[in-house]
Every structure is written in C-alpha cells, then in structure tokens.
C-alpha cells in the first residue's frame, strides 16, 4: 500500500505543521492581547479604587511578566487546560465548549445554504453569460457584498419579527421551549444574514470556474462526441469547476467565523463570535487566546480537508 503510506505521511506532516501554526497563533495572540492598552473589565472601571485595582491585578496574576505567563499557559494548554476566564472564573475550555456548538450550527447551515444557492446561481450565470439574468445576478452579488451585516440583520428583524410577526427577533430558542421547530425558526434570520457574507463569493467563483471549464477542449470533444448536454454539463464540466470552488470554500471558513462575530451580536446568538467580542472588549486574556486557538485549529483543519478533497476531485493532484 504505497499510496496509503504516502497519504499517511502527508497527513502526519500536515497535522504537525498545523499544530505549529496553532502554537504560533497562540503565542502571537497572547503577546498582542496582553500588550494592548486597557485591562480586564473588573479593573478598568470607574468605580474601582487604586488599592482595589492593585489587589485584583495581583489576584489575576497579571503582575507577572508576559513571557512567564505564556509559558505557564502553554504548559497547561498541551494538557488541555486553556486557563480560567478572567470575567467569570470558569474554565476557558468549558466556556468555549458551551458556545462552539451554536456557532457550528449557525456557520454550518449558512455555509450549506450558500453552497445550495450559490453553485446553481453561478452555473446559471455561466451558461447564460452576458444575458440580463447574468447581469442582474452579478449586480445582486455586488449588492450582497456591500451591505453591512448589522444593517441587514436589523432590517430583517424589523420586517420579519416586528412587522410581520413571522419569526423570533433574537436568541437561539424561546425561554422555556425546546422544540426543534422553535430552534429552526430562530435559526432562519441569522443564517440568512451570515450566508449573505459568503454567498456572493461562492457565486462569483462558480461562475468564473464554470466559464473557464466550458471553454476547455475536452468539453468541446465531449459535446462533439455526441454526449447529451446534460451529461457534459453535470459530469464533466461541473466536476472540474468544483476544484477552484472547493479551494475558495476553504478560504471562506475563516471569513465565515469572522462574520459570526457581528451576526451573533445582532441576533443575540449565544455562539463563539459573541464570546470573542465580549472577551476582547473585557480584555479576558485567557479567553481571547483560547478562542484564537480554537479558530486557528478550525481554519487549519478546514484547509487540510480542502486539500484532501482537492486530491479526490482532481486526479492530477497527489497527496505527497
């Protein structure tokens, strides 16, 4: 099994490199966040005396040098201990663990929805290049890219929750309810808003990739051989068009996670994006670093997944 070994070695190398990237991100975040102006909210408030401030800084261990703190943190992190949140005294890992599933649900459905709508839209645009439909969809994409997320969020809440009373305005589930239907109703608006941040990119990539593929000689050959247009389109063209789209999706995952910060704040969605905002505003150093590490790990994993998928889609690419 030479191929299997090669793949195994490739994966081992990539995982090792990915781990290095995550450690690097943790170090960079740790130093930047600790050296940034301000301090934990408990200290940076008006109604705290200088004496209290000194006590609290000492109790949080923030009077120790940053490199010393980082080494202590890294020592804990390799054993799975990401430290204690300065804002709540809870373990960072459990705070992230509480919120991460909500973000995965939101980002996952937004990504799924974007692919489900974006790929057919891109294909249609490629097939009807320069038609009025193509121009209209291009315009819509440009519009989608330029609309601020918080504005779109508030407008959708005003329309669907305030005026039409069709959907809930915020949150992940109604208080005291736990039905799937209620959860889905809460998911609709934030999912749409988050999808709007990546959908135009997916449409554009699909369109240009499809146009590119359709001009290739093998497509002409396939058509000339008398294959049904549908077969040419779906079996030959689309499969090859997916290759650049796949790599684009890999690059979109970090952007998607960035988009959750604003989306979750507007919709009161209890996910990791909102947690990141609270952590940054409140200078909860261990929590900021913990979130950065988790996001870096997700980004590394998704780029690895894209590479593996790439090799499956494109026989010219070898994992080695």
């Amino acid at each position: 099994m030479v191929v299997g070994e090669e793949v195994g070695r490739f994966l081992a190398q990539r995982i090792a490199a990915g781990a290095l990237v995550v450690v690097f991100v943790s170090a960079l975040t740790f130093f930047f966040v600790n050296l940034s102006p301000g301090g934990p909210s408990s200290v940076m408030r008006f109604d705290v005396t200088a004496e209290q401030r000194a006590t609290l800084i000492h109790n949080m261990g923030l009077d120790r040098p940053v490199p010393e703190r980082y080494i202590a943190w890294l020592g804990g992190a390799v054993r799975g201990d990401l430290g204690t949140s300065l804002l709540t005294d809870e373990p960072v890992a459990s705070r992230i663990g509480d919120r991460l599933p909500n973000t995965i649900v939101l980002a996952g459905t937004a990504l799924g929805l974007s692919l489900l709508i974006g790929i057919p839209m891109g294909v249609i645009q490629a097939l009807r290049r320069n038609s009025w439909l193509d121009h209209a969809l291009t315009f819509a994409s440009a519009l989608g890219l330029s609309v601020p997320v918080f504005w779109l969020g508030i407008v959708l809440i005003l329309v669907f929750a305030v005026n039409l009373h069709l959907l809930p305005s915020a949150g992940v589930v109604s208080v005291g309810s736990d039905s799937i239907g209620d959860r889905l109703a809460h998911l609709v608006l934030p999912c749409l808003v988050l999808a709007s941040t990546i959908l135009p990119t997916i449409v554009r990539y699909t369109r240009s990739a499809m146009i590119e593929v359709l001009t290739q000689e093998y497509i002409r050959t396939a058509t000339a051989k008398g294959l049904a247009p549908r077969i040419v389109l779906y079996v030959h063209a689309l499969r090859n068009a997916f290759i650049p789209v796949t790599s684009a999706v890999g690059a979109l995952v970090p952007r998607l996670l960035g988009g959750t910060v604003v989306t979750e704040a507007v919709f009161g969605w209890p996910g990791m994006g909102r947690l990141a905002l609270e952590a940054a505003n409140g200078r909860d150093y261990p929590l900021v670093v913990g979130i950065a590490v988790v996001v870096a790990a997700i980004a590394v994993a998704s780029s690895l997944a894209v590479d593996v998928l790439y090799a499956r889609l494109d026989p010219r690419v070898r994992l080695a």
């Binding site: 940034s36 102006p37 301000g38 301090g39 909210s41 408990s42 200290v43 940076m44 408030r45 008006f46 109604d47 705290v48 005396t49 200088a50 004496e51 209290q52 401030r53 006590t55 609290l56 109790n59 804002l87 709540t88 005294d89 809870e90 705070r95 509480d98 919120r99 909500n102 601020p148 918080f150 504005w151 969020g153 508030i154 407008v155 809440i157 005003l158 929750a161 305030v162 005026n163 009373h165 809930p168 305005s169 915020a170 949150g171 992940v172 589930v173 208080v175 005291g176 604003v262 704040a265 507007v266 919709f267 009161g268 209890p270 996910g271 909102r274 905002l277 609270e278 505003n281 409140g282």
Partner: protein, 542 residues
Amino acid sequence: MGGGSRALRRGILAAVFVPMLVVAACTSSQPAGPGAQAVGAPVSGGTVTIPIVADPTLNPWSPNAFVESVFVNRVLFDGLTKPGKDLAPAPDLAASWTTSADGLSWTFKLREGVKWSDGQPFTSADVAFTFNDIVLKPELGAQNRGNFSAVKSVTAVDATTVRFDLSRKFSALTSYLAYNSGIVPKHVLSADPLKTTTFNKGIPVSTGPFKVEKYTSGQSVSLVRNENYFGAKPYLDKVVFTVVPDANTQIAQALAGDVSIMILDDKAAVARVKSANNLAVVSRPLVQYYWLALNQTDPRFTDVRVRQAFVQAIDRQAIIKSVELGYGSVANSAITPALKAYFDPSLSTRYPYDPQKAKDLLAAAGWTPGAGGVLMKEGKPFQFTMDVGQKGVLEPVNALIQQDLKKIGVVADLNTMEWNSYIQKVVVRRDYTASVNWWVYPSDPDVSPYYASSAAGKGFNIPGYQDAKLDDLLIQGQGASDLEARKAVYKQLQTYMADTLPYLFLWYPDEVDVLSSSLQGVPELGLRDAMHYIGEWWLAKK
C-alpha cells in the same frame, strides 16, 4: 466593534427607523401611558421579560458584577436597607436601626423569621460574614468596598442584631447599605466568597422575592417566586432576563412585544417607540450627572475664572436638546434633582450660556486673543486635548463642547478611544488634560469619595481638585445626623461647588424607560431602583 461603527450604527438606526416611523404614524393611534386605561386592582400571574446586555454575575460583591448584574442582583439579594420610593433609605433585611451618641456605632435590628431560598434561616452571622469576610477584606478587592471605608468591623450581637463600628462619622451609612450591598449567605459562600461559579453563574441562594430557576449562559436567566420570601407574595409568576447585547435588537424586540420593560439608552429611538401602541414611554430622574473634568495638575485649570468661563461657554441646554432629546436638566452641582430632599433648584440659573462673559473672564485671567482669534497667554495658545471614551453619548457631546470652546478662542483637540483603553489612560493613569464622563452614585448627598482631597489622584476624585473648605463641608455632612442638619450642610455644599466648579457640571440626565402597556405597579424610579420593588409589579390581563 469600534466607535466609528457605533456612530455609523446610530446613523443607520435612524435610517432604518425613521421611514418606518412615518408608516407607523399614519396607522397607530396615540400611545396609552402607564395607567392610562382603567386598570383596577392588581392581579397575579404572568411573566415579565427584561433585556440585559451580557451574562450577569449573581453576586453583588464580585468585581465582575457590571451594570447588567445590577438588575438581577437587586431582585435576588436584599440589603439591610433599600432605596425608598423617595430614595431615602428604607428598611429591608433590617427592620430598624439606632445610632450611638458619638455616631460611631450603628445597631441594626434584623427582620425576624427571614429564610434563605434554600430554607436555611437568615441571621446576623450572614451580615457579619458579608462585611467582615468579603467587603472589609482588602485581599479580595470586593466591588464597592470603597463605599465602606469608614466601617471598621461588623459584630453579630445576637441572632437578629448586628452592630457596625465606624472609624469616623458616616451619616450616609444606611444610604450606602441600600446601594448594591446585598447580603450573601455564609453557609454557601464561606469557602470562596467571590469566585463560587455555581453561585455567581448558576443558582445562587438568596433572600429576595424571586430566586433563580435557570441560568443559561448567553441566553437568559429565569427567576421564579421564592416561596421562602419574608415579604408579600409577588404578583408575577416569573421574571426572565434575556441576554441581548445589541441595543438596536433590544429596541426591535420591544417593538415586537418581546420585552416588558427596558431602559432606552438611545433617545433617538423615542419617537419610534412612542408610536407603537403596545408600548408606553416614561421618563425618570436619576442619581447621575455628566461632568467635564479639567486636570488640576494643569496650571491653566487651577484658576477658577477659567473653569467658570468654560462652563458659561458651553451651551449645556443645547447639549441636552441635541443628545438627550430634552430628557435632562442643566447641572451646577453634584447633587441631583432626584435627591428631592437635598437638591437646591435655585442654582439652575447660576451659569447661563454666555460666551461673552466667558471671554471677559478669560481676559481677566490673562488670556487675550492672538492670531486667528485663538486665546494666548505668555506666548502660548490655549490648546489642549480632550480624551473621549466611546460610550453612550460621549462622542457627540465632546464634538459640541469642542465647537463651543472654539467660539471663545480655545482649541480642544479630540482624542477618541475605545472604552477600556480610555479608562486606563484617564482613570487609572490620570494621564489626561480634560475629559467628559459621568457619575452614578448611591442615593445620598454624601459625595465625598468623588470630591475629598484625599481621593485626588487615586480615588474617584478624577480632576484631582483639592480644597480645604470643600473637605470641611463634606466632613460636616458626614457628621450631621438629622435630616435638617444634613439639608443645611448640603445646601452650602452645593453653592460652594457651583462657585468653585471642582468638576465642570454639565447636566443631570433623565432615564427613558419603555414598558409594555400591560405592565403596572412599577414605581416612579429609575429602572435599576425600581427592581427593588418588583414584588409590586403586575400584569393587567388583556
């Protein structure tokens, strides 16, 4: 989220709400004020929903108990006293109190038969624990411990009697005990008073009319009736605090009928909310005032004529009109109109807007117009930087002040900063020349922590103003035991403050509350104070 985007968001909010307002104005009738419909006798039942911006910390002494926690903690944790409906201290866990002749020893008789929400008896040991083992322990850094610097120790005399021994006279003690000073249970917190997360972020043991049923991080905290509560059974079945960080989403939720009561921080949305026929809008006086601090380490600002000139150069009425939409009044001392017994309304006309007078005063202080109209003294222009924190109305207020000062030839450069960094620069390091902010303080005219010379530089005396006569008045106030004596001292204090301007007093804001038209029985207090009376709130049946 930077402040640039905050300002942008205010603009966008207006862009979104205003067109909808036009539509709404054509369709809705006049809003019903609270009590406008005949409401009859209170009825039991129903759930009240209140939005808060973040997860609360359910321990009033935790340094992480921020403003969102105040709403919940005032329902859960009774203090020895609470603010009365006139804001004077009223009995809560203490039924009565007496003071020794020298004013240095206060004895509180506790209410009999009070139980914690877990059924354990509440005793004087819990009070002694809360103070001796939390507040007075410097190594814990408990929130608000600075308010009790006069307290030496608390002794449990018997099961229902406690004695506070003071190091100096402190007639405001009962007012300060009414301010975020809930008693916490010794039998639960003795091991770790401030960091027990099952308590702070879970289900705490409390004495108030409601107790926590469920705490869902990032989503909500729901409260149900505390069957062990000592007072009258509350009308409401449940109180739910929903965590909604975005202010615009909170407003949208109110419009959608998902909120029972909330503070409307963005007064630009008042018109939109008023047009909704399921909502009522009320305004309430607050124990809060905005100020401009001029750092007294800068010799230009130690001249009282300069401070008096500035306060007359700033069109404070225009600021109130523009950023508060009229909800507020001009301030000339630290004592706010909400403190009705002490507030001196005659000072309101002390400094009318008068740029010419301002110029004359500055001229008398040696500042004369130079090139381009900029005031000069000893060859140097009157120019300085104002640090601006990105919060609430501070950015537009600073811009208005900058324009007003320009009109009298003073150049103020604005340095806008993210809130947390701002606090570090201005409050922690005192590395600033001029800055606008506000104080909210316990409902008592004893404002020593913010003005005493001893608090300059390290306490809450932000400008670092030091004045022996002011100190003397503050100490006289702390020593005056009866109401009439206190009134007399604090009238003098207000006049002296208006004359000397330790801070430049800007305005007293009013709070605008939005409430569901079915919500009744909420006393006419700022919402945070009204939380003490949630047992009296009730929902009219529709």
